[in-house]
């Protein structure tokens, strides 16, 4: 029995132009469109493909966050995950939830659910990963933790019948406390500010004008 655990996060939709709060405590999230982190869609898609290829028996989607995280889990279920785990974290605790905390939560769940995270074949897995100068191939022993790059696959759309079916799939609720994970903030956010705004440039009439500007600035 090999199980795949996939972490999914509800984030501000990638197409939204974010706004910084005037009091500099963070960015405006109320009333802003949220969706599943695009990288997580790719991870779910890969896990579901592994199941379709009979390389995995069960796909479990996990999300840490407030009640709305369940919407993200339903999306994962509609894409083909078998069941969900909602680790309820809300309010101030969620504001300061860091990758370190999420890692500890996922580690606990991976042990509890006896997940192989992503298991494939006979306990050995060959993966190609992106590095700065090109690609690299490594072989890892399972259980293993893999993170998905954008080019791993093209995630499927959830179809209406699958969205309906996803409503019946189980979502278990737990808290970090149930998992004995301490979520005390290790990093304090001092401020969140707008980045410096670039000065408006000019539209040039032709290539000669551009060459002139480049020469003027000493680029050529």
């Amino acid at each position: 029995m090999s199980r795949v655990l996939v972490g999914v996060k509800r984030v501000i939709d990638y197409a939204v132009k974010i706004r910084v709060k005037p009091d500099k405590t963070g960015v405006v999230t109320e009333g802003v469109k949220h969706s599943m982190n695009p990288f997580d869609e790719i991870a779910i898609e890969e896990a579901v493909r592994m199941k379709e290829k009979k390389l995995a028996d069960e796909v479990i989607a996990v999300s840490c966050g407030p009640a709305q995280a369940q919407e993200t889990l339903r999306t994962a279920l509609a894409m083909g995950a078998d069941r969900g785990i909602h680790v309820e974290v809300s309010g101030a605790e969620y504001e300061t939830l860091q990758p370190l905390h999420v890692s500890k939560i996922l580690a606990k769940l991976a042990q509890e659910e006896k997940a192989d995270i992503i298991e494939h074949g006979k306990g050995e897995l060959t993966i190609t990963r992106e590095v700065d100068g090109g690609l690299e191939v490594v072989k890892v022993k399972t259980p293993a933790v893999l993170s998905a790059d954008l080019r791993l696959n093209e995630p499927r759309y959830a179809t209406l019948p699958n969205i309906m079916k996803a409503k019946k799939k189980p979502i278990k609720k737990v808290t970090p406390k149930d998992l004995q994970v301490d979520t005390t903030a290790r990093i304090e956010v001092v401020s969140v500010e707008e980045p410096p705004v670039r000065q408006a440039g000019s539209i040039l009439p032709d290539v000669d004008a551009l060459v002139g500007k480049l020469k003027e600035a000493g680029h050529v």
Binding site: G201, I203, A217
Partner: protein, 332 residues
């Protein structure tokens, strides 16, 4: 054993040693040359103040270690040369860094925010049970750092409460520390059995190019979907050759198969900040801007006057790239 080590480190923070910062910089190299981002990390480490130790691990450390010894302001270079570090896998490097930290008790552990640093640093932080800080663009004090969030559309200042600060540095945000004026000595890093049986490095397929390296080039010419085909990218290469520039691409150009993905500039590709960035046939999606909007001068060539790239460009040319780019190449 680790718990004891952590306790004593925490105790130090509030004790008399609080002001004595000591930083471990993990050097990035390819067994032949030092990667330029390491020099940016050294500048960042200098901003923290205190002692700087550099760790060079690999199957062949001589060239990188020799170069680092010449950098000004480094107290020592630790060398770990072993077959265990083939492929610089995080699984083999992490125990080495933990052993080094155990011996010297650093206040800061830093690496560049490259694929190497991003793979390694969070693993080290988890083993030390501390929260890492990624892609730092400014250092305000020894525990307060600035990093971009939301694809560079907000800057977050964070104060780290952990006793050990584990950090990756954005290479384009710090000047490269010159490799001159110093005379540090090399010492062997703590010995140990670092080979991991969890991972085996098989091979690397690197893109070959005579052009400058993308993240450190002073001029970058990038092409997008507007190029329409991989063949047409030769227009970009010709212009780049005239300017001795590196060539970049938008994700659209990579996904369409025009160029390999290690050329991608953006949130999910490389972050560049050259003196001159020329965007050709690139609309300027948020995710692309995240990778280049700190360039000193931005030039955009696009036929769509409404393209968002014109909002960040210093000089814009609303023109058909197939006419404008060859003309520009000729006239330079």
């Amino acid at each position: 054993m680790f718990a004891n080590c952590l306790k004593s480190a925490r105790h130090n923070k509030f004790g008399s040693l609080a002001r004595f910062e000591s930083t471990l910089v993990i050097a990035e190299h390819n067994n032949e040359t030092l990667t330029p981002i390491t020099q940016a990390v050294l500048s960042a480490a200098k901003k923290i103040g205190g002692d700087i130790t550099v760790l060079v691990a690999g199957t062949k450390c001589g060239p990188a270690a020799a170069a680092l010894c010449k950098a000004n302001g480094i107290s020592k270079v630790l060398v770990a040369e072993s077959d265990a570090f083939k492929g610089f896998t995080p699984e083999s490097m992490t125990p080495l860094i933990l052993a080094t930290h155990k011996q010297f008790n650093f206040s800061h552990i830093m690496a560049g925010g490259s694929a190497f640093g991003k793979a390694l640093i969070p693993r080290v932080a988890a083993k030390l049970d501390v929260s890492p800080v990624s892609d730092v663009i400014n250092i305000k004090s020894s525990d307060t750092f600035v990093r971009p969030i939301y694809a560079g559309n907000a800057l977050q200042t964070v104060k780290v409460k952990d006793s050990i600060k584990v950090v990756t540095v954005r290479g384009t945000s710090f000047e490269a520390l010159p490799l001159e004026g110093g005379n540090a000595s090399t010492e062997p890093a703590p010995a140990g059995e670092y080979k991991s049986n969890l991972i085996e490095f098989i091979k690397q397929e690197l893109s070959k190019s005579d052009r400058p390296e993308l993240t450190s080039a002073s001029v970058v010419v990038s092409g997008g979907r507007g190029l329409k085909s991989g063949d047409n990218f030769k227009l970009i290469y010709s212009l780049a050759d005239k300017l001795n520039a590196a060539v970049g691409a938008s994700r659209a150009a990579v996904d369409a198969g025009y160029v390999p993905n290690d050329m991608q500039v953006g949130q999910t590709g490389k972050i560049v900040a050259p003196d001159l960035y020329i965007a050709v046939g690139i609309s300027g999606a948020i995710q692309h801007l995240a990778g280049m909007k700190d360039s000193k001068t931005i030039v955009a060539i696009n036929k769509d006057p409404e393209a968002p790239i014109f909002q960040v460009a210093d000089y814009g040319l609303v023109a058909d790239l197939f006419k404008a780019v060859p003309e520009l190449t000729d006239k330079l």
